[in-house]
Symmetry: C2
Subunit: 152 residues, 2 copies
């Protein structure tokens, strides 16, 4: 599973093959949860680079609604996992891997958002819910969402 590539250091989960369907589902949710924050960060970093020209920790902190030290620590993990590069007191850059993940996330986010809007949801609620939902949508579900949002 590609989504796990940068999570090798994480404690091994019980073998899902021996567990029942329910346990598999929970296992999947835990795996997704592990990656959520990283996905949110690379997506935001890509956006900041696009709109501001650079991704500064202070802006990341503001957009994420957390403090600067939290951002610093998280960026350390992202760098360790090969998603970003950074130099001390300088702004942040995405690696190829980080850029690819950001693109994928943005794609998923947009489909989920368009889908919710096409259901008739107001844009503020749609944005908030999309932020939570996007990390838990399988390829199959995403395809159905996209098809629905594109119906005439």
């Amino acid at each position: 599973m590609t989504k796990d590539d940068h999570q090798d250091a994480v404690a091994r989960e019980p073998d899902p093959r021996t567990a029942d369907n329910r346990a598999e589902a929970f296992h999947g949710v835990r795996v997704a949860r592990r990656n959520e924050l990283a996905e949110d960060y690379v997506e935001l970093i890509a956006e900041l680079i696009h709109t501001q020209g650079e991704a500064r920790p202070v802006d990341i902190a503001t957009k994420m609604g957390v403090t600067a030290p939290t951002v610093a620590k998280t960026l350390g993990r992202l760098a360790r996992d090969g998603l970003i590069t950074r130099a001390k007191y300088r702004s942040v850059f995405l690696t190829d891997e980080g850029r690819a993940l950001a693109k994928e996330c943005r794609h998923r986010h947009e489909i989920v958002l368009r889908f919710l809007l096409s259901l008739g949801l107001d844009s503020e609620t749609a944005e908030r819910d999309a932020e939570g939902i996007e990390h838990h949508v399988s390829e199959r579900t995403l395809a159905l969402f996209a098809a629905f949002a594109n119906r005439s």
Copy 2:
């Protein structure tokens, strides 16, 4: 916000009123994430009591796909938060509050699941995605899901 009542001991988040929409959305996701595990547990406990007559830690561990000590620690938190009662070496019971939360979760889970199925998703994927999505769906979105699943 009722969902926060049993999370008083958790570190205070930055005031969402001062943050922008994006930060609010992330804040909401973090709040939801805090409650996810508790919701999964009470939902499962209610189900076990209904189907097996009692909720034993060993069954919770199997269904959740985690080890027994993890279950023990988590049950300790649920008891502390007033969602369950337990006696040493005995099975687990829901408090009124826990029962109410379980009911609400089951309700949300069922709507999300029926919605995904009505989109044409296979039941296995629907079950897995519902498990992740159900915690991130607002009341408003849930209402739309329910309406869609009930369309003729």
